[in-house]
């Protein structure tokens, strides 16, 4: 099927595509997806085959590992919520207002993506350590950030905020000003207009952005590891547990824990996609 579309459209079938190059581009895409995405995943599941279901369960339900799930999920959840709120605010400010230095702030939004996560981790750790700039101010007040759960969430929030900003921003930009004005002309207060007219438009993007931020935080290693302190049962993240297993050459065990993270991420992304699909269909008309 793929080769015929490149140079020799099957006239007899009557369904030759108008846009050229489908076969070639689709073929390369599938190859790329297979090599870069599916092959490593297959490797992961291949490793899992070395474990019996019982062994698998023992590895993933080890109390220390379970504690790491809770730490990771909790911190990632907190980071995602904080990012949802502040990411929305940042996108709002960047789209709705003009101010000097706007372009600079806009460019800064990508910094967490551009910065090597280890660099971010070290920077945060030194900043919030007892001797650090922020740490020396906060710790006397009773806020301990470095080597605690809060530090982990902070590092996660730092690395994942662009997800929220960059997904919400274009949607907000595309929203015509008239929609806002229409709400006001009908007597809606700022609060009502925001809640009932603007937010519903932003929800899909905000949820997607927050979901991506959450999933990214689940797997964050470099930025978190320096500030986490890594005390067993307290501030160990799941990614670290995988790393520890690898250090012990326990590839099957590492894969088992990794698979848990993978399932959580996939389930979440799938749920968001289904929910969003429904919403977007309504916006663009039709039940089909």
């Amino acid at each position: 099927m793929s080769s015929s579309a490149i140079g020799f459209p099957r006239r007899s079938s009557g369904s030759a595509r108008v846009l050229p190059g489908f076969g070639l581009s689709m073929g390369i895409s599938v190859l790329f997806i297979s090599l870069v995405l599916l092959l490593p995943l297959t490797g992961l599941f291949g490793q899992l085959a070395n474990l019996s279901p019982g062994e698998y369960w023992t590895v993933i339900s080890d109390p220390r590992v379970v504690a790491s799930y809770l730490t990771t999920l909790g911190a990632a959840g907190a980071a995602a919520l904080v990012n949802a709120a502040f990411g929305l605010l940042l996108a709002w400010v960047l789209v709705r207002y003009d101010f000097p230095g706007k372009r600079l702030v806009d460019a800064l939004m990508d910094l967490p993506f551009a910065l090597p996560t280890a660099v971010a981790g070290i920077t945060l750790a030194t900043l919030y350590a007892k001797s650090g700039w922020a740490g020396s101010v906060l710790e006397p007040l009773g806020f301990k950030v470095a080597y605690t759960w809060v530090g982990i969430a902070l590092a996660m929030a730092f690395t994942s905020i662009p997800f929220v900003v960059r997904t919400v921003q274009p949607v907000l930009e595309d929203m015509p000003a008239e929609v806002d004005e229409a709400a006001m002309s009908l007597g809606a207060g700022d609060g009502a207009a925001f809640r009932r007219v603007i937010m519903p438009h932003l929800w899909p993007a905000l949820v997607t952005g927050t979901g991506l931020a959450f999933v990214r935080s689940l797997g964050e290693f470099g930025a978190v590891i320096f500030i986490a302190g890594n005390a067993p049962y307290e501030t160990e993240i799941t990614a670290l547990m995988i790393f520890v297993k690898l250090q012990e050459y326990d590839y099957a065990g590492a894969s088992a824990i990794a698979s848990v993270l993978l399932f959580i991420s996939l389930a979440l992304l799938l749920a968001i996609n289904i929910w969003q699909g429904r919403f977007v269909r309504r916006l663009h008309g039709g039940n089909g």
Binding site: E181, A183, S185, G187, R196, R282
Partner: protein
């Protein structure tokens, strides 16, 4: 509710969008703001709505905007009791048609908000009025442009506004739908008798729909008049040219004869350079020249569609083509076809002095 504007002007970032204007709109009137893009008509409408603020007047007389006796100059748009209809409908796409129309009622402060049942009854009545009651549960994206614009009108009327403001309400619709909606708006206006102001760049729409038309250009009001007077007695050249097709005849007058290349026309004007303007229906075509006029032309296009035949004329002495309308009977008698050489005879012409407001002179070919 009547609307009164006093010294309302507007600058955007240093450029003047609207010169200070005064305007009185009577209760129950349907007024069209007509002008080319950039004439300030939308700015004026948005100021009336409260979506823009007028400049502070530097003259001793302050800028004021009155709805009836109520000074609304500094009243926020949400408290002005206006209905605003946008060119692109600006419907809430995530809400059903019903909820769109109910929006204005459902965001009222709790004290004055009608009960759920009352809102429902009112929305259904409005939807019936715009003939969309069967689409109440649809979403905007499932409707055609004309239906969406009707929803947006129902939504604006739901809050029982004092004035209804429409910004190019039919601009995004195709010709047939536009015609229907226009007629329908006119009926609705007569039935409910609200004061409304609409913006358009379409002369035909303005003349057909309005009780009075405000013609604007370049941030200024050129003329305010009924459609009929506007067309019959334009106050200046801009209004004349904007309200229909215009043919230009420019030449030197000497001893009562205007000459332009090999064209001659007897006119009752003093010597000097003159420019005369003619409407297409003021041009008569004949096979022979007359003593008073000798304007040889060649037919370049004929469009025999409609009540009259539109003929495009060209000649060496004309910088741009002329347009003439002739009756179908004349069309047959003159055997009009492309390439036919004829003579044009002005029945009537107009002339505007360069410095505007002086009364325009018109003349009649002898």
């Amino acid at each position: 509710m009547s609307i009164r504007l006093e010294h309302i002007g507007k600058h955007f970032a240093g450029t003047r969008a609207l010169e200070p204007v005064n305007l009185d709109i009577h209760e129950g009137e349907l007024v069209g703001l007509l002008g080319p893009s950039g004439s300030g008509k939308t700015t004026l409408l948005r100021i009336i709505a409260g979506l823009e603020n007028p400049d502070r007047s530097d003259s001793p007389t302050p800028a004021r905007l009155l709805f009836g006796q109520r000074d609304v100059t500094h009243v926020h748009v949400r408290d002005r009791r206006i209905g605003f209809v946008f060119q692109d409908y600006a419907l809430f796409r995530h809400m059903s048609v019903f909820n769109n129309v109910a929006f204005g009622l459902s965001v009222m402060p709790r004290r004055s908000r009608p009960s759920r049942g009352e809102i429902r009854a009112r929305v259904l009545r409005l939807l019936e009025m715009v003939k969309l009651e069967h689409l109440a549960d649809r979403y905007p994206a499932q409707l055609s442009g004309g239906q969406q614009q009707r929803v947006s009108l129902a939504r604006a009327l739901a809050v029982e506004p004092d004035v209804l403001l429409l910004d190019e309400p039919f601009g995004a619709l195709d010709a047939k739908v536009r015609q229907d909606l226009r007629r329908w708006l006119r009926h609705l206006h007569e039935e409910l008798n609200f004061t409304s102001v609409f913006v358009t760049h379409d002369q035909e729409e303005a003349l057909e729909l309005s009780d009075r038309v405000v013609v604007m250009s370049d941030g200024k009001i050129e003329q305010i008049d009924t459609p009929e007077r506007l067309y019959r007695a334009p106050q200046n050249r801009f209004v004349f040219e904007f309200l229909g097709d215009v043919n230009h005849l420019e030449g030197d007058v000497q001893n009562g004869i205007l000459t332009c290349g090999d064209a001659r026309l007897a006119v009752d004007l003093p010597d000097g350079r003159e420019e005369l303007l003619l409407r297409p229906h003021e041009v008569r075509l004949a096979e022979q020249p007359e003593t008073a006029s000798h304007l040889p032309v060649t037919v370049t296009a004929v469009s025999p569609v409609g009540a009259e035949v539109r003929v495009e004329l060209e000649a060496d002495w004309l910088p741009g083509p002329w347009l003439a309308t002739v009756r179908h009977a004349d069309f047959e008698r003159l055997n009009l076809h492309r390439g036919r050489r004829l003579f044009a005879h002005p029945r009537h012409w107009h002339r505007f002095a360069d410095s505007a407001p002086a009364a325009p002179a018109t003349g009649r070919a002898a």
